[in-house]
Amino acid sequence: MSAYFGDVAALARKDLLLELRARDTVPAMLLFVVSALVVFRFSLPTEASDLAATGLLWIAVVFTALLGLTRAFAAERDQRLLDGLVLAPCDRSAIWLAKGTSVLAFLVLAEAIALPAFALFFSPIGWETVAAFALADLGIAAVGTLLAAMAAASRARELLLPLLFLPLVIPIVVGGVGASVEPDPGRYLAFLGLYDLVFAILAWASFEYVVTE
């Protein structure tokens, strides 16, 4: 088990190092999410409620995550590096877990800017919204990493990833918005937790079949 998590740590460290050097993903995500919030700020009527703004925040974060996911396997795809990783004798799910960890880190970083920006442009956010984003990030990283690997092997990857990803994150948006705006966020947070658990197990177990023939 320690060898498995050692592999995950080595692969995740590699992804973070690549991003630190190439700066391909995080700056794009930050620019996108802040730009989207600025546009929403000026496009919403002045009498619009905070509820509508909260919904738009979730949309901005989902599309920011999609932007990050399109780049998640860029190095592996462009240089056929997935072949090198798949040939290694480590458990292939370690590749998914490591990539999911880096996707999660990038998303958290984007939200560290997006949530204060939202509070600045619209209204303050409570602990329940922060908790909902934390749970949603886990689900987005779990499902998104699996789908990004599938899309990376396809010629129509730019089309395929949104087509697969957006329907699957609808439950996350429903749970996230519910937890953010309803007076009793508990059941929405529980729903997000259940989604994370189910989809993390499914993605972990099926990743091997996505990256091999």
Partner: protein, 195 residues
């Protein structure tokens, strides 16, 4: 036999990339695969590595995944990492014992020691090929699959590889795909010409 294939065939859509290959490879054989561009050499190596599944026929490779060394057309190393970081990563994933010493020895042998902390993106094509050979040999594989190993190597690099292959021949199973078999034919125990 370490590799056994009967009627091996691979199609990509309607296109036959490889058809009707029979093959028996012993633990100490060196097989040279020749053929023109598009004859299926790389496809055969990818099948033997387990990266592709045959469309038809039988293929039995009796070594574990981690005991295969595969040199592909691409070097399969991260361009934004240094040579040392790439080999550290693969060494970790392949559970290479005494990793640091093994990496140092290979980098030294292939003339990359001085450039070990440079990013691969700054390497010439020949240096990247040398690094790819280091990656392929890192875990001391029982079955080596080398696709055009002399590609992009200068005379010095080719001489190092000649020496390496001469020392490996007769020690383990090697499959080399090339359209210039001249310098390998003396070492070969088997030949396969793909049409």
């Amino acid at each position: 036999m370490i590799v056994s294939a009967r009627g091996l065939e691979r199609r990509f859509g309607e296109k036959h990339a490889l058809r009707g290959v029979d093959l028996e490879l012993g633990e100490r054989d060196l097989l040279v695969v020749t053929g023109a561009n598009g004859s299926g050499k790389s496809t055969l190596l990818a099948l033997l590595a387990g990266l592709l599944a045959p469309t038809r026929g039988e293929l039995d490779v009796s070594v574990e995944r981690g005991a295969i060394g595969f040199l592909a057309h691409e070097p399969l190393v991260y361009r934004e990492l240094t040579a040392h970081e790439n080999l550290e990563l693969y060494g970790r994933l392949y559970r290479v014992p005494e990793r640091r010493e093994r990496i140092g020895m290979l980098l030294e042998r292939y003339g990359l020691w001085e450039a070990r902390h440079e990013r691969v993106s700054a390497y010439s094509r020949g240096m990247a090929q040398r690094l790819a050979l280091c990656r392929t040999l890192l875990h001391d594989p029982a079955l080596l699959l080398l696709d055009e190993p002399f590609s992009a190597l200068d005379e010095a690099g080719a001489a190092i590889l000649d020496e390496e292959l001469a020392s490996l021949a007769g020690e383990r199973a090697l499959v080399l795909a090339t359209h210039e078999p001249g310098r390998l034919i003396a070492l070969a125990t088997l030949e396969l010409a793909l049409a």
